[in-house]
Amino acid sequence: MTRKRRKKNVSRRKFLVRGGLGTLGVLALGTFVFRNPIRRSVFEMAETLVPPYDGTGTEANLWFEILKDNTIVLHSSKVEMGQGTFTGLAQIAADELDVDINQIKVVHANTDSGVVDGMSTGGSLSIASLWQPLREMAATMREMIKGMAAEKMGISIGDLTTKNGVVSGGGKTLTYAEVATNVTEWKVPDTPKLRDRSSYQFVGKPISRIDLAAKVYGDPIFGMDAEMPNMLHASVIRPQHVGATMKSADISVAEKMPGVVKIVKQDNWVGIIADSYTQALTAKRAIQVDWDIPKMWTEEGIREMLQVGKGDKMICQKEGSTLDTDDSNVVTLEFSSPIGAHAQIEPNGAVAHVKDGKATIIISTQVVQITQKQVAKALGLDMENVNIIPTYLGGGFGRRLNTSHAVQAAILSKEVGRPVKYFFSRKEEFQHDSFRPPTHHIMKGKLNENGLLASLEHHYASGDVAINSVLLPGAVNTILGTDIGAARGGNIMYRNIPNHRAIQWHTTLPFATSWWRSLGLLANTFAIESFMDEMAIKAGKDPVEFRLAQLNDDEMGKRIKAVITKAAEKSGFQEKPVNGRAMGFAACVDAGSPCAHVVEISIEEGEIKVHKVTCVLDCGIAVNPDQVKAQCEGSVIMGISAAMHEKMTLKDGQLYPTIFGPYEMALMRNAPKEIDVVLIEGADVPLPVGEPPLGPIGAAVANAVKRLTGKRLTDLPLSL
């Protein structure tokens, strides 16, 4: 389960160096990298369920620029959606470059400045995947500058030192920018030896976020804030019923309304372009659409489709023998989770300008390069004529792994030859989300004579996560034969149980389901860890001891044991409720990072109240421990929201609800007042952070409820 370390040296790549970048930069450093064979990606993914870093293509990737004022611009191939990646990347780069953190400016790489990371931003992988290549790139640049400084200063390179972006030696100093000025030919050294851990100035330190001020003073940094000169505004009509298609649209009234510039009818949508957003919105309401609604889908209809035993079956894990269904000692419990909405606060949208065979799109997206491909394809343009400019994201959570609405914005702009800004209404966000699929689980287990599990089986049904996603080539799913997204957290981590298996049943639902922060982990961990607690109770064992006894002693087994032991110890875990408060325990491992939670709850006025969560995460090196903790705190509360409050359903053939409030989410009053995050460093590289802590929360709360009330809750959202 440990992530395979990739030690692809930068020196094997071909460098691109540009001197004298017009008036701005004095040096730009990039690399040519080569496409990983897709097959290798697939196998690495199969092993870890983690897509590897893959700077695709053969075009130059621009990494660094040195500006005249000695600012180093880092062009990030990963987008900043709140996870703190920009800050972490700046820390990593600063240590190898020997510059102060404040000298580094991180910007989103756009597709014109080089090909961006083709694998997108997601999977909690930004820091983990760039750890090695970014350090190598930064160290190489530092040595290039030192080499050039040696020439310019007439001092041997061995007598030079670098600090705070300045090269010193023999009583002389030059800033990096001064070294780079007027240089046209650079010597690129082999990848230098990387810094030793003990010499880090920034990595491992709780540096404040580099985007903090922009976010505290309301700077216009988001896609929604973008504008272009001479810009129009648009609104789009799309189907409200699941599976509906447009028969006809009467635009005769709307097209004469104030400010309306053009109304564009397409296959299954209508775009209204107007001078202002409110005018576009008003005209939209005046359009009559006749829809063909082939079926009125219901919640029951979806549940009927989505059951263990229905759809495509895939055995994901198989050890020992299968349980005998007639064995009366077998314990069986069913669990379920609902459809979940992303509900990120910044709606999806884009500003597009298509003119003279070129397209420019400003957009909040997690898939910069896929969006570029989609726009190029839809408009019949060459890729190099489509520039995608990513912005800060007002939340990602996986929703922006599908931003094909960039195509709609581009079509609208092309129709009027002017820039067009367009974004979803909140109702459209809720009805046209790519939802977390609902799930159904059957857990089966049998104890041996020592009160430990002889067998444990997880049978689960899920809608699409990775399957049918633009993010993964269809071949990936065909080769693996399973939905690797739905499988996250679905396998049994208790490898000492002699007979264990995980079996996935997959069904594509009539509405889009896809990546939602932590993917299958949330529901799978809820089922497995609830059942583990149930079996511990049945065996009359302490739930912590029960878990520890069934983990093995390989590298990952030891790391899981460490987080479990630490969580129990730090929280003072005890089985018996005290003064109306009960504790609940649960653990998981996700993408190489084990995590354990202990929650403390009570029942207040008939509702579950979470008072405290102790969260122990082993994410290897925490590049920025404060931001790792922030991710844990956010994951814990988002997990509470998903596990205790949120639920999409179908009503009159439509996805429902369509607004915050009715779509109940955790608010301030639902957030625990105490979250104690403990980080363990069980590996010498940074590992995923942003998703693993979402896993155990549902089961931890349900396990606490069981110990307080005797009642086993088996369906999310948890309800007494």
Binding site: Y217, G218, F222, I345, G395, E633, R669
Partner: protein, 160 residues
């Protein structure tokens, strides 16, 4: 029609066809103050919270005609990098924002709460701060609200 008001201390007059247009779009698109965010358009999330005569208002559902003659404050007018509002100071100390999109709304709601209740209890915070943050930064936000109250009460007596 012409509507006049003060925004961030400056008098402004705008010419608008539809007097029922939400204040949010006037602020964002006509006055180019992008710190006030659109989240839902139904006053359900609070991303568009700003102050009208010192009270927290969800501007996506507030007709511009009602702003006539009033004092509007947006996040851009709350404080600056050089002279931060205590709420912004506290938010910075506790490194509250993640994605940051909803944060101006929360900071405006908090500033209005502190005007009303200078030293809010946890219960006051629960009852009054009801915006939605999907990154779920509530844990740090609560700490930052208490800290902002502390900064406000420390600075107030000197000012009065």
């Amino acid at each position: 029609m012409k509507i006049s008001f003060n925004i961030n201390g400056e008098p402004k007059s705008i010419d608008i066809e539809d007097e029922n247009s939400p204040l949010l779009w006037v602020v964002r698109d006509m006055l180019d103050l992008k710190g006030t965010k659109f989240g839902c358009g139904k006053a359900a999330c609070g991303a568009c919270t700003l102050h009208v005569d010192g009270a927290a208002i969800r501007s996506c559902s507030y007709p511009i005609k009602m702003a006539a003659g009033k004092n509007i404050t947006t996040i851009e007018g709350l404080g600056t990098r050089e002279n931060p509002h205590p709420v912004q100071q506290a938010w910075t100390e506790h490194v509250v924002p993640q994605c940051g999109y909803c944060q101006p709304g929360f900071m405006m709601a908090t500033a209005a709460l502190l005007n009303k209740i200078p030293n809010p209890t946890d219960e006051d915070i629960d009852n009054n701060i009801v915006n939605v943050c999907r990154c779920a930064t509530y844990y740090r936000m609560r700490k930052a609200i208490h800290r902002a109250a502390e900064l406000t009460t420390v600075s107030k007596p000197q000012n009065q």
